[in-house]
Symmetry: C3
Subunit: 206 residues, 3 copies
């Protein structure tokens, strides 16, 4: 139980900062920055909780999350001119958040006795839909629908975690393996500019 | 119970294909196409389930839906160049989906002991909000808010179904009557280019 | 209990009219106007109910709300040419709605035994997210994220209400004080064109 909470908090910090940075690029006011930070960090988990009927949703029951998001947003606002020089470094932060959220999502879905495929879907929703909601609130087509392959990475990592913990591996090992796979594959994907096979290639030749 | 499931599956297929086609028009990647197909087909029912507190939401409890959506999306991607020549034919598919979803939505709302007006609203939500969510995710004003009259058709069909089943007609007859009304009226509406009476007419004369 | 219902109805009317006016500015059809009016007036409370698991959501259990919204929307459509000359007066209406919704939201969250900070957040969500959903459906960045300070006013008013009712003030006094604060501060904010301190000032000097 406790390890899940720590995972959630770490993911919350990294997502709140990335949300606040996006909101500042959109020139939103302080309230807007705070809401986008909140939605980016708890949005995916909130949607997961609503879909499985786990209410009141997690972040409302643990003030730590709310304070952590307020703090991270404040830090992001104050140090924003420094943060923009370290965006490349922040990428790692974001990737760790994705890995942590995917695993936490799969764990919660498994605890709700759902089908393995649904568990992986819920892990992916936990990791990706905070960003989807952020993009919708900022009036853009969600970036993961046309760029970036991190949803695919979450599906991969979530499946590996589920398979290895079902196969009897200790929790900590299963989490470590799945987490490393997500972090490594996503980093490689961005460095090597991997993208999903296009379904439009034939049209290009016209 | 079983008939409701069959209805849901048929609607799911037709909506998934129409969602995938929309996503491909927007040039989304494979993951984006899959998500838009999923949201278009289960979005309305998911919103209905969340609003009445029926969780975990339906599609998570029946893997058939998830597999059907994956399959329909795959078919839509592979045969997309053929599908675009039969868009007019796909319209019937879509209309049947709308009819089926409306009736299933009214049935589920009735089973939850809600007021008849709310049941019709929930039937309409089941049929229409998958498309609304699809348009929001694709960053457009939902088409049913300014074109198309199919929400009105759902309200009509849902009311007829509710009235006739309350009046004691056998389920199958009530469903057939309401379904035919939705399919016929929507087809007529599109062929004859019916639209809702405009509230802006007076402004045109200026 | 009853006072909460009356509060909710008053807020519902004012929000439905403001929603319908926005939809008419976007030239939506009658169905679109009705949905935007509905979403603007019940959207915040619906999101609050979903987040805390209070389902079926409030407006479905009390047909008064649905009829009131239908009626208010009809009035807004019929008298729209008059309403546009009184937009400044409608502002008061809207502000009263915000005050009423904030207090009702805090009351419902308190009844669900949530942490005071979460109660204030839920009061603010009740008052502001109808407008956020309205803007998303109309394909705009929600206005409260970059203009207007009314979310801040809700946070202030909600906190005052919670503090004074916790401190033992009679409900009616606590509501009156918090309501007046919200109405006065928001009116002042608009008249004096207050906005949140910008976090971008340093960039202006470049």
């Amino acid at each position: 139980m406790e390890i899940t909470t720590i995972i959630d908090i770490l993911g919350t910090v990294s997502f709140a900062i990335s949300g606040a940075l996006t909101a500042m690029r959109k020139k939103l006011d302080v309230f807007g920055i705070l809401i986008i930070a909140l939605v980016t960090s708890v949005g995916g988990g909130t949607l997961r909780d609503i879909l499985i009927g786990k209410t009141p949703v997690s972040w409302m029951l643990n003030m730590t999350f709310v304070y952590v998001i307020f703090g991270a947003t404040l830090v992001a606002i104050i140090f924003r001119s420094y943060l923009k020089y370290v965006r490349r470094s922040l990428f790692l932060f974001d990737t760790i958040g994705i890995a942590l959220y995917t695993i936490a999502g799969v764990q919660i879905a498994t605890a709700a006795d759902l089908h393995p495929v649904v568990c992986v879907v819920l892990g992916t929703i936990s990791a990706c839909f905070g960003g989807v909601l952020r993009d919708i609130l900022c009036n853009e087509i969600p970036i993961i629908f046309h760029k970036e392959i991190y949803a695919t990475v979450c599906i991969l990592g979530g499946s590996v975690y589920l398979a290895s913990s079902t196969a009897g591996l200790p929790q900590s090992i299963a989490m470590l393996v799945a987490g490393c796979i997500i972090i490594i594959v996503r980093t490689l994907a961005v460095v090597k500019e991997w993208s999903l096979p296009s379904v439009y290639k034939k049209d290009y030749s016209k």
